[in-house]
């Protein structure tokens, strides 16, 4: 049985029609749809177990705390982290990266260097820009080759004695490139730099194992992997998190408080001030359960097959340019393309008329757009519920685009 045949009945939204056509949702890289089990786990939590976590000494408070902390254990196992203390819940990938840029850069000295890449999402660029301006740090970017890969020779030239942080995407949200994180983390460590990885596009599609990746921090968003919006995951190696000064204060992140000072709480709560996203954590547990039941190997295989067909199909259409590495094996489940003579927003609007939802624009990666020499691209992305027939529908629709305006 094909994976999508198994999964499609689990996604209520797929029964919708758009402009008279069955929905063809090819925008999971922006946010995936949710299986019924995630939606129901969250409703059930609100209907049966909701209370604030950690200091509510009553039955509901205890249930909510148990569910919230169980999500942490689930995430720890899902990404192969060594300890539960290494899993911090945030509000999303951007939030996690902002937290890290704030906290990590605070201890740096003027002239220290941050290395990003030319293919970063603005989420993994702007927070470092802001920190660099504030702390008078130097910001440099690893260039992207014509094949859409990181230029690792340039990386070696850019890594130096003053490099403190290397911040990069695991999978590019535009090119789909899977970056060699383990190798880059190894080279960064040689010069004493830490590695911060934006895993937003990788976590939904790849089997993750922090012990193999060897990065210092890894950040991702459950809403792109069948889970709810409003919660993010920040993984950090314990010895680094222990030394990291929290930058946000409030309830829960403290152990003892006096008027003029406070003692921080243990990990991971030290970085979780205020009421956390509890229902969202419950939804995240259900999303991970769903993905693990399918098996991440199988998920990756399914999406790779769709990506391979989309790549070869789009490249064969006259006037269509496909961006990123040519082989599906080097990519995540996104395919960005341009149609000669058509603006990406027109491409997206025309496809929407056929019920096909794709992303269009700069994909929050303006420096990369400049590097590619385009104002934007259209992007199709795939998930566990995407069918081979939907990819064929996309290809047929794109083939007819140039005559439709």
């Amino acid at each position: 049985m094909r994976l999508d045949e198994k999964t499609r009945p689990d996604f209520p939204i797929l029964s919708r029609t758009i402009n008279g056509h069955p929905l063809v949702y090819l925008d999971s890289a922006a946010s995936s749809q949710k299986p019924r089990s995630v939606i129901e786990a969250m409703s059930q939590y609100y209907e049966r177990s909701h209370a604030n976590v950690h200091r509510s000494i009553h039955t509901l408070g205890e249930e909510a705390t148990e569910l919230y902390e169980a999500a942490r254990d689930r995430v720890q196992r899902f990404i192969g982290a060594a300890r539960r203390e290494e899993i911090v819940f945030t509000r999303g990938t951007s939030d996690g990266l902002n937290l890290l840029a704030d906290a990590v850069c605070r201890s740096l000295a003027p002239g220290d260097e941050i290395l990003v890449t030319e293919m970063e999402h603005h989420s993994n660029l702007i927070p470092w820009q802001m920190a660099a301006r504030r702390q008078r740090l130097t910001l440099a970017a690893v260039p992207v080759t014509g094949q859409g890969l990181l230029d690792l020779e340039a990386l070696d030239r850019l890594l130096g004695a003053r490099t403190r942080v290397v911040a990069l995407a695991h999978v590019s949200n535009v090119l789909g490139t899977i970056n060699p994180v383990a190798e880059i983390a190894r080279r960064a460590r040689r010069v004493g730099a830490i590695t911060v990885v934006d895993g937003a596009q990788a976590a939904p599609h790849l089997m993750l194992d922090m012990s193999v990746l060897g990065c210092d921090y890894y950040v991702f968003s459950p809403h792109k992997m069948l889970g709810p919006t409003g919660i993010g995951v920040l993984y950090g190696r314990q010895e680094l998190l222990e030394r990291l000064e929290p930058t946000r204060g409030g309830g829960e992140m403290i152990k003892e408080v006096w008027i003029d000072r406070a003692q921080w709480n243990d990990l991971p709560w030290r970085f979780e001030p205020g009421t956390p996203p509890i229902a969202e954590a419950v939804g995240l547990t259900a999303a991970i359960e769903y993905l693990e039941k399918l098996g991440m190997e199988r998920v990756a295989e399914h999406e790779r097959a769709l990506t391979r067909r989309a790549l070869e199909g789009l490249a064969a259409i006259p006037g269509v340019t496909v961006f990123g590495p040519p082989a599906a094996v080097d990519r995540g489940a996104v395919v960005a393309f341009a149609v000669e003579g058509l603006h990406p927003h027109d491409v997206a609007a025309l496809l929407d008329a056929d019920g096909i939802g794709v992303r269009a624009g700069h994909h929050c990666a303006m420096p990369l757009m400049r590097r590619l020499g385009v104002v934007g691209t259209s992007r199709a992305s795939f998930s566990v519920f995407t069918s081979a027939e939907e990819v064929e529908q996309l290809l047929r629709a794109v083939a007819g685009l140039r005559t439709s305006l």
Partner: protein, 127 residues
């Protein structure tokens, strides 16, 4: 004439395929350019203004069909009008000609040329 379903009316398609006012305007004395940060659309408007009146208008740019059609209509509408009249043109005037069902997410595609017009008329040339 009724508004057609979807953003791409016959008027937009026609103006996208065969714009009437796309091109350079040598001697233009009121020129401005702006971008839509959402999508990167870029429109440049060139006007010849004399005696308080817009004598000629042309546009250039890299944009979606809706934005280009809107710029084309705007160039047509401002031609021959006084600066004061040109300033009073709004999105409704453009939509009357474009005859399209524009959803809020694409409205900025229609209005970008209008804000570029404002910038051009605020410049020294139009005074």
């Amino acid at each position: 004439m009724t508004v057609q379903a979807g953003p791409y009316s016959d008027a937009i398609r026609a103006r996208w395929r065969q714009p009437r006012f796309r091109g350079e305007l040598p001697g233009a004395n009121a020129v401005a350019e702006d971008v839509n940060p959402l999508c990167g659309d870029r429109i440049r408007l060139m006007l010849s203004v004399g005696d308080g009146r817009v004598a000629a208008a042309r546009f250039a740019g890299d944009s979606c069909a809706i934005c280009a059609a809107s710029a084309d209509v705007l160039a047509e509408l401002v031609t021959g009008r006084s600066v004061a009249e040109a300033r009073r043109l709004d999105a409704a005037d453009l939509l009357t000609v474009l005859q399209a069902d524009i959803r809020p997410t694409r409205m900025r595609c229609v209005t970008l040329p209008l804000s570029v017009l404002g910038l051009a008329l605020d410049g020294d040339g139009a005074r």
